[in-house]
């Protein structure tokens, strides 16, 4: 509950952070609606998963355009999914457990973002994969 | 451990809350005790409106309002008080608006007003738009707004504390004593709190629960009136109890006069607007006592719907838009509690016990008085339905109760602020709670006896049947016998719940005791008033008798426990009594 002084005026505990998270959840949601659905359509509808080996990925990432699109999707997903998980954790835990799990979520988010970025940036091109 | 506050307010309805605001504004250490959470007080059930001669819709003057109040009360109104009421109605309603009350608005943004029974232009020429309103939840908005302001000012509340006794110092209240605080039962755990105080305001509302069919909440059991009476104070004008014409059949839930204010009809089984035979000028907007009697006469003449005991309230011709905008809540009640669609069907209604004109006698400063000379009882105040100022006389006009709360609640608070200055704190101790503790323990300890509910039900039946809209000597006498019998049986009630945690079984048993006090004084006063005036209609004395009865009754508890009656003159200033026709 929001704390108030005796005189009744507000003493907010967490300024704009929660607002920013709330708002960005919505913005990333809209971005993901396009990106994720398109992505899913490409990798599960247009192409069969069975054919999408490393070579296929390399072919797709042969230009900077796809890499950029996928990186944007990665950024949005990491924010959205991990902040979403934070929400879930904040609902069902409290005290030190909440703190620990929140930190874990942030850490995982960072890790996943780093690994994803690394894969995107350094993915070898098709020739190398094939050899 | 004894607690103390400079001033105490018992009851958190409109009257109590406004008094508390005045005390808080003046910085007096004060507290409000209430057996319900404040927002659950029955003021919140008031629907139709609160009158003030703002003149926002058409020409209006407070003198007209004063006149209507006096005539509506069949000239038993104290005219000095009615003048205060009508004048201060205007400023208190404006003040409420400033506190944030969301009134409906006229197209130019002012407080909207509508018609209400008995309110007229130019001393009775025709209906006038005087009732300020917020849809059909005016009382809800008043209660909420006042409570909100109390929160703003940090008023101290004892929520769910049931006041079970008054403390006195220097003798009983009627005989020179002073009010010195209260004993309150904390409902949560059964602890008795003794709180002493220099000033005590009783604002505990009415006692409609003594009737079978009533618009009143279960909690309206006359606690304040009864406690004052037990401590030697007279109660005034108890014979005048208002029956509202339009209650939901059987349940008594109120369908506000606002419906008729907006143009609804009353119809008998022939589809006739029968009010044209009883009040040709005001028709459905005649005062409540007249409309209730008209309905009973229609029923007696066999013109009830299907020969049964109800007539119709018809809003169909008002159109959906008006119904939804101006009467949303009451049409919802009809749908939920009668399963009827008011857009398309007429609504079965019958009179319902509604409002106590009588109560604790006070002067225009809300100070309780104890005799025909209006001697002030030090430290004791009363306001709202509990009090009898008397601004309602023999019959209250619609909307005037809310005005009463505002005007005299405010006055009570202001008077207490003045009176506590320079007073000493009464010298009472914890021991003062012993008598009531003993009563409560006795009730808790009684192993077996009759259920209190049987007594309450029988009381409700006899009051409804013999002390209702019409009264006769015969019926009243049998009511007297019955109430006395119930009183005897009450000595032996027992309760199932012997615990201390939230024991509503115990408190309800006490409430039946309060109701018995109120009923006993009411019946006695009825028997003695051998005339018909306002809400008191004797079939054996159908005429008003100004020679013998233009006077207030005072009922005191005699030494032998029986009711002793006395009378006190009515204050008449501007308007001489005239026959009351509409």
């Amino acid at each position: 509950m929001a704390r108030t002084t005796l005189a009744g005026s507000a003493r907010p505990m967490t300024g704009g952070f929660e607002l920013a998270v709330w708002y960005l959840m919505r913005l990333t949601a809209l971005a993901l609606f396009v990106l994720v659905l398109a992505h899913f359509t490409i990798v599960h509808f247009i192409y069969d998963p069975a054919v999408q080996n490393a070579n296929w990925i390399a072919a797709r990432w042969s230009g900077a355009a796809w890499r950029t699109v996928d990186w944007l999707m990665l950024a949005a997903v990491v924010f959205h999914a991990f902040m979403g998980m934070r929400t879930v954790i904040h609902d069902y835990t409290k005290g030190p457990a909440r703190m620990a799990l929140t930190m874990l979520v942030y850490l995982l988010a960072f890790l996943i973002f780093a690994m994803g970025t690394m894969a995107l940036v350094t993915f070898p091109d098709a020739v190398k994969v094939a050899s | 451990m004894i607690r103390e506050h400079e001033a105490l307010v018992v009851g958190a309805g409109g009257a109590g809350l406004w008094a508390a605001l005045e005390l808080a504004k003046a910085g007096v250490d004060s507290a409000v005790l209430t057996k319900l959470y404040p927002t659950r007080s029955h003021t919140g059930a008031a629907q139709g409106g609160v009158c003030a001669a703002l003149g926002n819709q058409e020409e209006d003057h407070w003198e007209w309002h004063m006149f209507d109040t006096i005539k509506g009360g069949d000239y038993l109104v104290d005219q000095d008080a009615a003048e205060v009421l009508a004048r201060e109605a205007i400023e208190t309603v404006i003040e409420l608006e400033h506190m944030g009350l969301p009134f409906n608005r006229t197209p130019d943004g002012k407080i909207d007003q509508r018609r209400f029974g008995g309110h007229t232009r130019n001393y009775g020429e025709g209906p006038v738009m005087r009732a300020c309103f917020a849809a059909d939840r005016t009382g809800h908005m008043i209660l909420q707004t006042l409570y909100q302001q109390c929160v703003k000012l940090g008023v101290k509340f004892y929520d769910e504390y049931h006041v079970v006794d008054l403390l006195t110092e220097g003798g009983e209240l009627g005989s020179g004593g002073r009010a010195a605080g209260v004993v309150a039962y904390r409902i949560a755990d059964g602890q008795l709190a003794v709180i002493r105080s220099k000033a005590v305001l009783l604002a505990t509302g009415g006692f409609g629960r003594m009737f079978r069919v009533t618009s009143n909440a279960w909690s309206l059991t006359g606690d304040g009136v009864s406690l004052a009476y037990r401590h030697g104070l007279p109660v005034q004008d108890m014979e005048f109890y208002q029956f509202h014409p339009t209650g939901i059949v059987g349940l008594g839930i109120l369908l506000s006069e606002a419906a008729r204010g907006e143009g609804a009809y009353l119809l008998n089984k022939d589809g006739q607007r029968f009010m044209e035979r009883y009040a040709p000028k005001l028709m459905e907007l005649a005062p409540r006592d007249m409309v209730s009697r008209a309905i009973v006469q229609e029923l007696r003449a066999g013109r009830g719907i299907d020969g049964k005991d109800y007539v119709y309230l018809d809003v169909r011709h008002l159109g959906r838009q008006k119904i939804d905008e101006k009467l949303p809540d009451i049409t919802d009640f009809v749908r939920v509690y009668q399963g009827i669609e008011p857009y398309t069907d007429p609504i079965p209604i019958q009179p319902t016990a509604h409002y106590a004109m009588g109560g604790i006698p006070t002067n225009i400063h809300a100070q309780a008085t104890c005799d025909a000379a209006n001697t002030v009882v030090p430290g004791l105040y009363a306001a709202g339905e509990t009090a009898c100022v008397s601004v309602h006389g023999a019959n209250r006009l619609g909307t005037n109760s809310l005005v009463d709360l505002l005007v005299f609640g405010r006055r009570a608070g202001r008077q207490m602020v003045l009176d506590v200055k320079g007073q000493d704190m009464p010298d009472v101790t914890d021991a003062a709670a012993e008598p009531v503790r003993a009563e409560i323990e006795a009730l808790r300890a009684r192993p077996k006896g009759e259920r209190k509910e049987a007594i309450r039900k029988e009381l409700a039946d006899v009051m409804m049947d013999d002390v209702g809209v019409y009264r006769t000597a015969e019926g009243l006498e049998s009511a007297r016998t019955k109430v006395a019998e119930l009183r005897d049986r009450y000595q032996h009630v027992s309760i199932d719940d012997k615990g201390t945690t939230f024991n509503t079984d115990l408190l309800e048993a006490r409430e039946v005791g309060y109701l018995l006090d109120c009923a006993e004084t009411m019946v006695a006063a009825c028997i003695n008033r051998k005339e018909s005036r306002g809400a008191h209609s004797r079939e054996d004395y159908p005429e008003r008798d100004d020679v013998n009865f233009l006077t207030h009754s005072l009922a005191t508890k005699g030494a032998d426990g029986a009711v002793a009656l006395d009378y006190k003159p009515v204050t008449i200033t501007k308007f001489q009594p005239k026959p009351r026709v509409y």
């Binding site: 919505r26 599960h44 192409y47 069975a50 490393a54 979403g84 998980m85 690994m115 690394m118 894969a119 | -």
Partner: protein
């Protein structure tokens, strides 16, 4: 409490949204890991792919698709209500509309993904 209370559409919509959100989150963890694997060790990744192509893999894939589709559609419902609060009056209708879209889009996806598991040719072909 959650099981004792008989919520209506709104509560179900939320429960599914939350469950699907967490499920997709779990998959995303896996997914980024496997892409990363494709980067550092392509042959292992290629072996893994056979799992994705197996009948069970396809079933899981369908479930994932359903979760994503539901979460995405209901997510839009939430965002619409957030930005235009008066639409909350039709929140139930919006939810039913979601299900219509879900089924219409979902059927071809299910056919496309599941057909190979039964040894059939994928119904839609894009020359790829």
């Amino acid at each position: 409490m959650l099981f004792r209370y008989r919520g209506s559409e709104g509560m179900l919509a939320w429960a599914f949204h939350r469950i699907s959100g967490v499920a997709i989150w779990a998959f995303i963890l896996l997914h980024v890991l496997d892409i990363w694997l494709a980067n550092v060790n392509p042959p292992v990744y290629n072996d893994l792919l056979s799992l994705y192509g197996s009948p069970i893999g396809r079933l899981l894939e369908t479930a994932l698709g359903a979760a994503v589709l539901y979460h995405a559609l209901n997510g839009v419902r939430i965002v619409v209500m957030d930005f235009w609060p008066s639409t909350t009056r039709y929140h139930k209708q919006l939810w039913y509309a979601n299900w219509v879209v879900f089924v219409v889009i979902g059927i071809p996806f299910v056919l496309q993904i599941m057909a190979p598991a039964f040894g059939l040719a994928a119904p839609f072909s894009f020359g790829g």
